[in-house]
Symmetry: C4
Subunit: 194 residues, 4 copies
């Protein structure tokens, strides 16, 4: 199994997921500033998911870079992640269509939680496939803490949505910011190895 | 005719097929747990087809890897396969829109049957293009048995749908499981050759 | 300007055009064999356009293979071709939505005519960019006759649609068959050059 | 971070943006020349955006070619540009759906303005990442003038839309023409460097 082809396929699927989301935004039939204002929350929801998929693309790229070979378990862990990510556009649309109601926000949080767990599973599958002497092994295990942090935030955002949906949206934004900070350590180790 | 470009094009088409399926899922206008429950069978249908296309992607990758060159018959057998696979999203949507009625399930089974036959035709086109001394030739001929098994299951699922649609869905799942088991033999031979 | 990147971009656009066409097919809300029969002409229209885009992909691949470099005129001739090809899904949908009425068929014929002319323009742009000593130059000029044949057929299918739309559909099929016959000559010359 | 993978991802997203726009064009249920005439302004809007995305693809290609490495700021400047470009199909549809009303045209102008600024930010991120001795550094800074010209035109098209929407559409076309003129200087310098 070729690593390059798995990357290309994943890139293709991620590029499509990030772009087709825009198709689900309903274009109003009339033009006025009031109508445009009403579309803005939808654009915000789209932007949020765009950033999340963008982050997954970046991290996915670093993660696969660390893999030595593509085993069957890596491949299926990758397909599993792509499946859940492909539901993000749906969940985003539901959130904006229902004016960010708690049920839709909780569903979004649960979906992001499953995506985070799927990413952790992919990380584990790659760790297991690495030789014990590979310096990336320990780095990837440390790297996981970021994933754990996200999973904690997504979990908290579920009960938070019952209290006020803005707290959940705030937690999503917090996760985004944490991931935006580059993981210098893994990059350094990769460079050393090359 | 370049093998890499045929792979890239097929990967692109498969990545789009697997992802656009999600666009056909209707996002409800209101948010409640009851509404979410009603969407779940649709998600199940999507997941089933996601796994099928994923399996085709994997096998297609192994199959093209075995090809020595791209002849006109390989290219058209490949286009033929992609055409039928591109109808899978439609058929999936029909199945979930009609609450898995027998006509829609039979149509889905027939479509998967045609996809299976198209895949067998592509395999044959590749076998015919190989030199007699190529060790992959006999492997690909044995490899075909899996395809034959699928075709038998799809054929059985057609009359089964008249009895009870869940039996057909069970047979689809059985085919998926059989294909998920990696074909160690072809992989080994490919490695030996390289 | 990099030839590989123009190929990748064109492949991406063509893969999307060929696949998104399926999205425009309306999935009926009910399931019965009568309803399935009514969808068949739509599937036929889709299949026809699928073959046409598939042929363009093949020929485009051979054509770009012959190019020595990517000039500005080649790039814009290519973008022009992609633009018209991207309208094929629209025109196909219109044809099937209106039960193959003459106006829709004539529009489809005119669009294919423009695509054929655009392809000829791209061929000319590539011929002009080749060195006089390049053996592909004369081959590409001969190759053009196939394009001329298509343009004649598309032109004939316009008045023919007023008489009977099936004649136009027959002419489209004829063009498809002519293009399906591989152009051995250009392939041979390319091989000699390599 | 790999430059090739960022290019592939951007190419994928741009190919999808340029192609899915066509999906938002409503195909009429009936066929007549009058109906076809009514669709023409929509096709014009699509063509305009097709050219704009095409230009961005060309320039983006030149720009990334000049980059020595992919820093975190380049990557996020690139994602930012892709985000705004992905809204172009929406804005185009709104413009044609509302028969080119001033509010929709102004929104389109503002969006193109933001795209232009995002492109300038990406250019700056790349300039900052270049070594001082790199001959492309001064070229890219000069190259920016074209971007400034666009930004001026987009800005002018906003008040112009209140007067007459055709002036704004004329300004958009002017920007397109200016970008269509190839930037010989940067190409020469790139060739010299290679």
């Amino acid at each position: 199994m070729n690593k390059a082809r798995l990357e290309t396929f994943s890139d293709g699927v991620l590029a499509i997921i990030i772009t087709i989301m825009v198709l689900s935004i309903n274009v109003p039939d009339k033009a006025s500033w009031t109508i445009l204002l009403k579309v803005l929350p939808t654009i915000f929801g789209y932007a949020l998911s765009f950033v999340f998929i963008g982050i997954y693309w970046n991290n996915h790229h670093h993660l696969l870079h660390a893999a030595e070979k593509v085993t069957a378990s890596i491949m299926w862990a990758n397909h599993n992640l792509l499946f859940w990510l492909s539901l993000v556009p749906l969940s985003t649309t539901w959130m904006s269509k229902t004016d960010f109601q708690d049920v839709a926000i909780i569903t979004y949080a649960i979906l992001l939680l499953i995506c985070g767990i799927s990413y952790t599973l992919l990380t584990r599958a790659i760790i297991n496939s690495l030789h014990d002497k590979n310096p990336l092994k320990s780095v990837l295990q440390k790297y996981n803490f970021k994933g754990v942090f996200s999973i904690v935030c997504y979990s908290l955002s579920i009960p938070a949505a019952f209290w006020h949906s803005y707290i959940s949206l705030g937690l999503f934004t917090l996760v985004a910011i944490v991931w935006l900070i580059p993981s210098r350590e893994i990059e350094k180790k990769v460079e050393e190895k090359e």
